[in-house]
Symmetry: C2
Subunit: 335 residues, 2 copies
């Protein structure tokens, strides 16, 4: 297939709770999309099949055949081996050494490029969103876990082993709560949706009022970001405490990142920020500004992701468009 004939790429955002795929044209326009649950506990093989199905559905939603598709980009939890496109380990999904690129290439028969979920998120915002035109950018994506991505001198920061940008695992208090990664006091252990949920449950046990469990059939049910937001906006005491703690620790992390990277733009995204909106970003900004050298704040912006839930699929699309048209074709599975 000649390069010109490709109408779109498929971007896939592999999250802790959901898979989101989109067919995206060269100008970053989403032509069609699809979503599925991740169900990481069903195992890597089952999830990667759902990813492929989700991608095909996104193409179908855009009215495209696979012959119209140039390539596939994926944002995945890490750490990753970027060259091989393998997941080395992932605290939330509990997979180890999972050959994501190879499996998806077999299933979709298209070249696949994989990067860290945080990197693709900030790539999307850098290409089409809140960080357009900035050379130094930090992205923090707050959802089930916390992903990060860094752009230095206009390029994603990958580091020596391709695993830079694990901003969710900055230590903000070595005596803090245990994180999914096994360590204590990581940003993610203070500020992710799971951390907020844990804090609300602890506060309730301690006698702080909350209404969020009232209408649950099963009290073990997950608290969704939408429900958290409603309770937060209604002033629910336990939720207010937990959200303020989350935003404060994100603020401390942003302050550290401003002192370390001195970026022009800090983009806050992910499911939680998308649901909470301005109120959450304002809390983060206030704490960050109090804890940083004033010079690192000059002409700096701390803003919500402009692409909302689409940051990662659009960044994954940027990855896919980076694959050259003359890339070697994917081979059919050897029998």
């Amino acid at each position: 297939m000649a390069k010109d004939q490709a109408k779109a790429v498929l971007g896939i955002d592999l999250g802790g709770t959901k898979i989101y795929a989109a067919a995206v044209n060269r100008r970053g326009k989403i032509l069609g999309s699809a979503r599925k649950k991740t169900r990481g506990e069903s195992g890597f093989e089952a999830t990667v099949k759902r990813m492929a199905k989700c991608a095909l559905e996104a193409a179908g939603d855009a009215g495209l055949e696979m012959s119209d598709i140039h390539a596939v980009g994926v944002g995945s939890p890490g750490p990753l081996d970027l060259k091989e496109g393998r997941i080395i380990e992932t605290p939330n999904l509990k997979w180890v050494d999972a050959p994501l690129k190879a499996e998806l290439e077999q299933l979709l028969q298209k070249p696949v490029k994989v990067d860290n979920d945080g990197n693709v998120g900030i790539l999307g915002e850098h290409a089409y969103g809140a960080a357009r035109g900035a050379d130094h950018v930090i992205g923090l994506f707050i959802g089930t876990g916390i992903g990060g991505g860094v752009i230095v001198n206009g390029e994603p920061l990958h580091g020596f082993n391709d695993n830079a940008g694990e901003l969710g695992h900055m230590i903000l208090d070595p005596g803090g709560p245990q994180c999914g990664c096994g360590n204590h006091g990581c940003l993610e252990a203070f500020a992710s949706r799971l951390a907020i949920e844990r804090d609300i449950r602890i506060a309730e046990i301690q006698g702080v009022e909350t209404s969020v469990f009232a209408d649950m059939k099963d009290r073990g049910e997950r608290l969704r970001s939408k429900k958290l937001t409603e309770a937060f906006l209604n002033g629910d005491p336990a939720v207010t405490l937990a959200i303020n703690r989350s935003a404060s620790y994100v603020g401390f992390a942003v302050a550290s990142l401003l002192n370390v990277f001195n970026p022009e733009v800090v983009v806050l995204g992910g499911g939680l920020v998308e649901a909470m909106g301005k109120r959450y970003v304002n809390l983060v900004r206030k704490v960050a500004k109090r804890n940083v050298f004033s010079v690192a704040l000059r002409n700096i912006r701390i803003v919500a992701a402009a692409l909302k839930d689409d940051s990662a699929v659009l960044g994954a699309a940027v990855l896919a468009w980076q694959i050259p048209a003359n890339a070697p074709p994917v081979k059919a599975d050897a029998q």
Copy 2:
């Protein structure tokens, strides 16, 4: 003067307690050197005069005339305005808006290039020391305060306002001790020589034994790194506690930096590390390795600075050699 005639540059390391200047040839060899006390409390003007005198003495020590000198490089505490070569503010020396480059150029009649003390430290180690050949490097310099420097893709990281690399002000516990910068729980507030001294004094008040104050005429006298090291190697209880706390927090910071930057080499330098040597670096390495994704440790080195006290003057020399030979001459002071 033609470029070829310059035999050396002058590198100046402006520290919290001392000024160290060296005449350095093109291959990074120190031909002569001199030291003076900083006496920051005497004010910027007085200190900058001592810096110029110290630089002239270093040239003299090398048997060089100022006509043999190409240019001058300086490592200074920050934040800085790099283009203007101004100190914007400096927590330890209490100066604000100090025109370091302009003053030194007037006094020495040579072009001057200024960078953050941490940046020049890691530039020196990158050019001639423990990080030679590495593209991704972190430097932490632990002395009176804590300076940092970062090399990404082979180049120093400056960021949007030229103030990246303030690694001493990463927040490691928002409820921690107050830092010289005004915030709470910065790395510097846990781990600098001043923090160690504070912790020893607190421990003594709390009844922990220590011998370090026994032979002091004035109990307010500063504890020097050499004395701390002797007491540490002799197992002094209060000193052991304080040094372990310092090394642990440096370890937590290194863990965060490994997850954030995924560097190939982490260089630990500065007066305290130089005095303590392997014992301190081993403590840091142990804590760092426990608190980081294993992938960020693959083929990673956490090592002591190879140039010891010379990292910063040699990095300042690298800066000075970057000044082109056809740079506009420094004008005599307008009357």
